[in-house]
């Protein structure tokens, strides 16, 4: 409250005007939506007939409905595979790029391309790459004498889709880590060099502890993204009846609402998703206090 420009006279009205869109957004866009979704999650409503009270049925069916449970375990599995993948690979890429080799800016552009373009457009190519009979990947495998794999079948789709999601996220992770790496003072490495530490030791004893803030941030962001993953899953695993071979929570919310017109059930799923994300964030910040080193 100490600093700041004091609005004079009628400028108070201007202040209100400047803040008005944000206030409307807070009231209707955020608070209103949350309250409405909570209320809806206790109702049964297809938007065609009048809504009726459903009590806790929507929440009970979250536990009893196999399909809904499956979507939750799929999301957890996806997150468990995706987050470490993104963090480790983009850190590795950033470390390699930070060696200040000639022509590194070319590589930076190349690695960032998937982060620029839409998942929808690139998923179309990945569909051609993963194709069973005509796909590029199976063609290469056959040349190497390995039998063809059905990359987007029920038992493999999870891994194939996680790979594409990681591919799309490396660019952003790399930038976060590069920013963290360039902030480490050069002298630290000079000192380590004098003490006779080799590159591997320098990486694990010096680099990793000093970029724990970036690792934490990237891990948190990737987790949030993983819980909300939708685009590649929709584009690569969609089947008949609005189903998917690996339905995740957001996919299931979409299908429940806009395919089965079960907006109450979809709301309950959205609320559970929010709570699960909040729990993960709480764990993350607890881990941060214990393990993240800020200078």
């Amino acid at each position: 409250m100490e600093y700041g420009l004091k609005p004079l006279g009628r400028e108070k009205l201007w202040l209100l005007a400047l803040l008005m869109p944000t206030l409307i957004g807070l009231l209707f866009g955020a608070l209103g939506s949350v309250v409405a979704t909570v209320v809806l999650s206790f109702a049964k409503w297809d938007l065609l007939t009048p809504p009726s009270w459903a009590g806790t049925i929507n929440y009970v069916s979250l536990v009893t409905d196999q399909k809904v449970l499956l979507s939750l375990t799929n999301t957890l599995k996806f997150t468990a595979l995706y987050v470490p993948g993104v963090v480790v690979i983009s850190l590795l890429v950033a470390v390699l790029m930070n060696r200040k080799l000639r022509g590194v800016s070319f590589f930076r552009t190349a690695y960032f391309l998937p982060a620029v373009t839409s998942a929808v457009a690139t998923a179309l190519v990945w569909n051609m790459i993963y194709g069973r009979d005509t796909g590029l990947l199976n063609f290469i495998l056959e040349r190497l004498g390995i039998p063809a794999v059905c990359w987007l079948c029920a038992d493999t789709a999870m891994y194939s889709v996680v790979v594409v999601n990681i591919w799309g996220a490396i660019g952003e992770g790399m930038i976060i880590f590069l920013a963290g790496l360039t902030a480490i003072p050069r002298e630290y490495y000079d000192a380590a060099e004098i003490d006779g530490a080799n590159d591997v030791q320098q990486f694990f004893r010096l680099t990793v502890p000093l970029i724990t803030p970036s690792i934490f941030f990237q891990g948190l962001m990737s987790t949030i993204n993983a819980f909300q993953a939708f685009d590649y899953i929709y584009m690569l695993t969609r089947r008949g009846q609005g189903d998917s071979s690996i339905p995740v929570v957001v996919f299931s919310i979409y299908r429940n609402g806009w395919y089965f017109f079960n907006y109450g059930g979809a709301s309950a799923q959205a609320i559970v998703l929010t709570v699960v994300v909040a729990i993960f964030m709480a764990i993350a910040f607890w881990l941060e206090r214990r393990y993240v080193v800020y200078e």
Binding site: L18, G25, A36, F112, V116, V120, A121, A179, I253
Partner: protein, 279 residues
Amino acid sequence: MTRQTQKLVLDLASYGLLLLGGILMIGPFLWMISTSFKLPADQFTKTLIPPTFTLENFRQLFSVDLNFPLLFWNSAYISILITAGQLLTCAMAAFCFAVVRFKGREALFTLLLLTLLIPPQVTLIPNFIIFKYLRLIGTSVPLWLPAFWGGAFGTFLLRQYFLTIPRDLVDAARVDGASLLQIFWRIYMPLAKPALAALAIFTFQGAWNDLLHPLVYLPSVPNTMLTVGLAFFQQQMTHGGKFTVLMSGALLSILPLLIVFFIAQRQFIEGISLTGIKR
């Protein structure tokens, strides 16, 4: 091994790894470009250079039944409206939070930041219901209207940047009799161009690439956005076996962002590191 040869070996290994990774990163794009210039008969040939080079796929995109130009136009104007709305309303709020002194400022800002925790799926359902009752489903209004009520992300990003602008400028302007609005529009907005550019690119990219929201609000072709249109074409064409047309559509759809990226690569990357570092 001396220190120097060790360095050389490591450098070569780094190049090797980066090159291998680079091929994996841009490989799908090369395949997209290659397929979009192939004849439909050659759609599954495994050569990077098309056996016969054709522009026929692009011509088909502009045929009446696909109506690609409409998808392109919709994506363009909706994304531009969303970007304009976000830049304006986020900057307005960010200026208040960063510069102006008023009661409850910190509390309001904290409340705004808390909304970052709300996943977009939670707001989607009630918003959809409201827009349905307003008979706006099937129009672009539900897509761009919410961009005009600010947002935590953009406001936070701009506020952080506004805070770095020297306060002496405000005091000097005040002495010269400048009003609140003049200080906002004549001093802060021009000086915040780098942050505004980063936010603009970030927002535009998000809007252009969005799938879930247009899928809900503009669910059917031809009057929809590129992402939904391409998803629909995918369903149609993988059965009809026209991957070549699909690839030319995908290529055209990413072209605007690629152009912006190659012109403003620095802002693109800044947008990410700005949000990453200044937590």
